[in-house]
Structures are given as structure tokens and as C-alpha cells.
Amino acid sequence: MGILETTAGKVLSSYSVFLFLTVLAQAAVRRFSTSVFLFGLQSAIIAIQVAVIGYHEKLVEAYIVAALIVVLKVLGIPYAFFRLIEKLHAPREVKTSTSAAESVFIAVGIICLSYAAVRSYASGVQAPEDGLAASVALILTGAFLMVSRKRALMQMIGLLVLENGIFLAALTTTFGMPLVIEIGIFFDVLMGLFLMGLFVFRIRDTFDHMDVSKLRKLRG
């Protein structure tokens, strides 16, 4: 029992560190499959945190949410992405408009910015500052990935990272929303992914590539 308590405490105090690491790594990676793997890792960290909060607050619903995250975001979405890569014969490399070092520097700036952004808010409510900063950093990094990556597939990853950040923000401020809403959000994410997958296929079929920086002309 004692060991479980301590582990739970440690997870709550240090999960934001690992989330920051995934943010930095996400900015540095050059290969699409690594990026997908990192997204799965990020979701796994969040799932562990949800489970720990459930243990702390004695909420059975939290366990269900954690299981849903594992099924959907840790296993399901990465699997779907790998299938998608196979089907599209997409190049493995991530095309970026900033170099790896520049991206990591921007990610560092984002992390500092998110600390600055949540500082005044975190002192007002009962929320851990590091956790809030991590969630804001995830949201901003997701947006940054969507802007700076050139292939349509990476923009899907960016959107999912952003969604992870929003989920984490809700989790750290309210200790989780009602189960019905959570399930609704998961369903939204899934549908969004389907639609984006369809779009990627359409883009590939119409333009023979997925480089969104070259999508300048309208085609019927």
C-alpha cells in the first residue's frame, strides 16, 4: 500500500517533466514514424496520470477514461497512422520549414511562454503550475507543428497533440470531466481523424503529393 501511495505521488509530481521531454522530442524528430510513436508515448503518460488521479480521488470513472485513452490514443491512432503510411507510400521523412535546432529552440520558448501564461492563473485556483504549463505547452506545440510541418500527415499529428493539451488542461483544472463528455470528445477525435485521413487521400490523389506548402492552385 505504501509503495502504491508513493508511486502515485511521484507520478503526480513529475509527469509534466516527461511531457516537456516529449514536446522537445516532437520538435526535433525527423522521421514520421518516430513522431507517431512520440504521440503514443505522450498519450500513455496522460493515461497514467488519469489513472493516478482516479486512485487519488477514488473515482472509478477515471479508470474507464484511462482505459479509453490507452485503447484509442496509445494503440488505436498510432496503428491507424502506420496503416495510413503504408497505404499512402508516404516518404518517411518529415519535411519542415525550420531546422531541428530552430524547432527545439522554439519549443523551449513555448515552454517558457506557457509558464508565464499560467503563472497568475495557477496561484488563484487549486491547480499544479507545472501541469497547467505542460498542457498549455502541448496546445502551443501542436499549433506550432501544424504551422511548420509541410506534409499533411504531420498536421494531423499536430492537431492530436493540441487535443492532448486541451484534454490535459481540463484534467488539471477540474480533475476530469463527466464520463459522458469524455466519451463524446473521444468520438469527436476519432471522427476528426477519419475525416483528415480521407482528406489526405484526396490531396494525394489530386496533387500527387502531400506538401501543403505547394497547395496554391485550385483544382477540380
Binding site: T6, K10, S14, S16, V17, F20, L21, L24, A28, S99, A100, A101, E102, V104, F105, A107, V108, I111, C112, Y115, D130, A133
Partner: protein
């Protein structure tokens, strides 16, 4: 007792350095399903070189002969700052981490001078590359150490190790994690290992270290090779001392020091395995991609320094 311990640590780092090279080579061979040379081969290489004739190019000046001695002396001096078995070192209180970093830079500076002084085209090329890599690696190295220094409020390596010893392993601090990542990347660059430089060949146009030492032979070459092996062992010792010192002897009793030695050997072996895996799994970067690689380290170490102020623990 303390002085004897300090000297023992230096002897371990200096005399054990070629063995580390041998072990990495053997591990890499095993990973690539080759038989590989004996782990003691670097010693016999050094022995052979020490008994060979020393050839100096006719165009070389006195710097050519002086450089290996200074390089070797600088790297031996660096080992005097690193605590291995207990949280003390021979020069532990005499200098801080900045002195240690610039002793490393001093050695590198004279190595580059010697490379240029040899007069061959490869020497100049290798030297210019080495200087580029080292000036890119210097910022993350210093910043990473500064982050740890702020966290432990101590400027000496011994003080940092002592502070980390007092912490529990499970109190993961973001500062340490990020500083470790940055310093690990820097260590690969500083010791001329795989993604930056290929240590096993002098048959490539992309070589850095081997290009510089191409004109050296005999005892001079032995000194340079030994010095670069010491650099590897010193940096491994530094990483262990700052980030994972648990197991060091607190009281300097023979039993405690014996135990510390066993733990140290285990940790060193773990790092060597990681190094061999990295070197076998990753291809060498193009020279133009190296600044990007080290830029990532610079960014990470900058964040580590900033987080010392942001994260309160």
C-alpha cells in the same frame, strides 16, 4: 587518506582509459556479429607506438612536438577534478567546473595547432572541423553544467556530486534530466564518437580527429591517442558523478570504497553498452548536419538553465 584516494581515482581514469576503448570496440564487434579484437588491444597498441621511431615532417615547427605533451597533460589534469569512488577528488576544491571545461578546450586547441603544424592538407581540414565542432559543443556543455551548478548551488564537480548523493533517485528533476540529455549529446561530440565523427577509420574524407593526427607517429601519436582515450573516460566519469553518483562511498573505509568500485564499474559498463548500441544503430551525420545536432543540445541546455528558475521544488 583523502590524497591517496584522489590519486587512486586519477590512476583509474588514466590507466583504465584504453580499456574502455577496447571494451567499446569489442561490444560493437559483438553487436555487428564480428569476433572483434581483444579488449586489451589498445594497451598493446600504445606499447607498440611508444617503442617506435618518432618522425617529424620537415616543415613542422617546435609546436608539432610540444602539442602532444600539452594535450596529454591537460587531459590528465582534467581527471583530477572528477570524483569517482567518493565525493572527493585531488583538485576537488582547487578549481570549479569552468576550469575543467577550459582545460578540455586547452587540450583541443593545442591538438588543432599540432594538426595544422604538420603541414598536410588533411591536418588543416581536420583541425578546422574540430574547432567548429568544439565551439558548437562548448555552449551546451557549459550551460548544462551551469544548470546543475545552480540546482546544487555549488560550482565544483565534487560539490555537485555530493549534492546529488543527498537526493533520492526518484526525485526526478527536470533540470537534471534536460542537462543530462544535453551533456550526453555533447559527450558524443567531444569524444569524437559516432554521429559526429567516426573513431574507427582514417580512410574517410569526413574524418575529424584522425585527420588532425595523420602526421603524428610513434610516441607522439601514443600520447595523443591515450589523451583522447582519457577524455572519453573522464567525460563518462563526469556524467556518472553529476547525474548518478549513488553508490559512492560516504565514509572512506576500504570496504566502502571496494563497494563503490564495483558499482562504478557496473555503471561504466552500462554507459559503454549504450555507447556501442548508439554507434552501431546510428549513421554518421553529414558535416553540415552537425551544427543542427549540437543546436538541439544547446536548446535543451538553455531550457535546463531557465527551468532552474521556473520550477520550484
Amino acid at each position: 587518506m583523502k590524497i591517496a584516494l584522489g590519486i587512486l581515482q586519477m590512476v583509474l581514469l588514466v590507466m583504465g582509459a584504453p580499456l574502455l576503448r577496447g571494451i567499446v570496440g569489442r561490444l560493437k564487434a559483438l553487436l555487428q556479429r564480428r569476433q572483434g579484437a581483444s579488449v586489451w588491444r589498445p594497451y598493446s597498441d600504445l606499447w607498440k607506438l611508444l617503442h617506435k621511431e618518432d618522425l617529424t615532417p620537415p616543415s613542422a615547427s617546435f609546436v608539432f612536438g610540444l602539442a602532444p605533451l600539452l594535450v596529454f597533460a591537460a587531459s590528465i589534469l582534467v581527471t583530477a577534478f572528477i570524483p569517482l569512488l567518493a565525493d572527493s577528488a585531488l583538485l576537488g576544491s582547487a578549481g570549479d567546473f569552468i576550469l575543467m571545461v577550459y582545460l578540455l578546450a586547452f587540450g583541443r586547441f593545442f591538438l588543432a595547432l599540432g594538426g595544422i603544424d604538420g603541414g598536410s592538407a588533411f591536418g588543416g581540414m581536420g583541425a578546422s572541423r574540430e574547432v567548429l565542432v568544439s565551439c558548437l559543443a562548448e555552449a551546451p556543455l557549459l550551460l548544462g553544467l551551469v544548470a546543475v551548478a545552480i540546482q546544487s548551488s555549488s560550482v565544483s564537480i565534487v560539490g555537485m556530486a555530493g549534492w546529488a548523493l543527498g537526493q533520492s533517485f526518484f526525485n526526478i528533476s527536470a533540470v537534471h534530466l534536460l542537462a543530462f540529455l544535453a551533456l550526453a549529446i555533447v559527450a558524443l561530440a567531444e569524444t569524437g564518437r559516432m554521429p559526429v565523427d567516426n573513431p574507427t577509420t582514417h580512410l574517410e574524407l569526413t574524418m575529424i580527429h584522425e585527420g588532425m593526427v595523420l602526421e603524428y607517429s610513434g610516441p607522439n601519436l601514443a600520447l595523443i591517442e591515450w589523451a583522447s582515450a582519457i577524455k572519453l573516460s573522464a567525460i563518462i566519469g563526469l556524467l556518472i558523478a553529476i547525474f548518478a553518483p549513488w553508490g559512492m562511498a560516504v565514509a572512506s573505509s576500504p570496504a566502502g570504497i571496494g563497494l563503490a568500485l564495483v558499482v562504478l564499474l557496473a555503471k561504466t559498463f552500462a554507459i559503454l553498452v549504450a555507447l556501442a548500441v548508439i554507434e552501431s544503430a546510428i549513421a554518421k551525420l553529414r558535416m553540415y548536419a552537425v551544427p543542427d545536432f549540437l543546436g538541439v543540445a544547446a536548446a535543451i541546455s538553455t531550457l535546463a538553465v531557465i527551468l532552474t528558475a521556473l520550477m520550484k521544488r
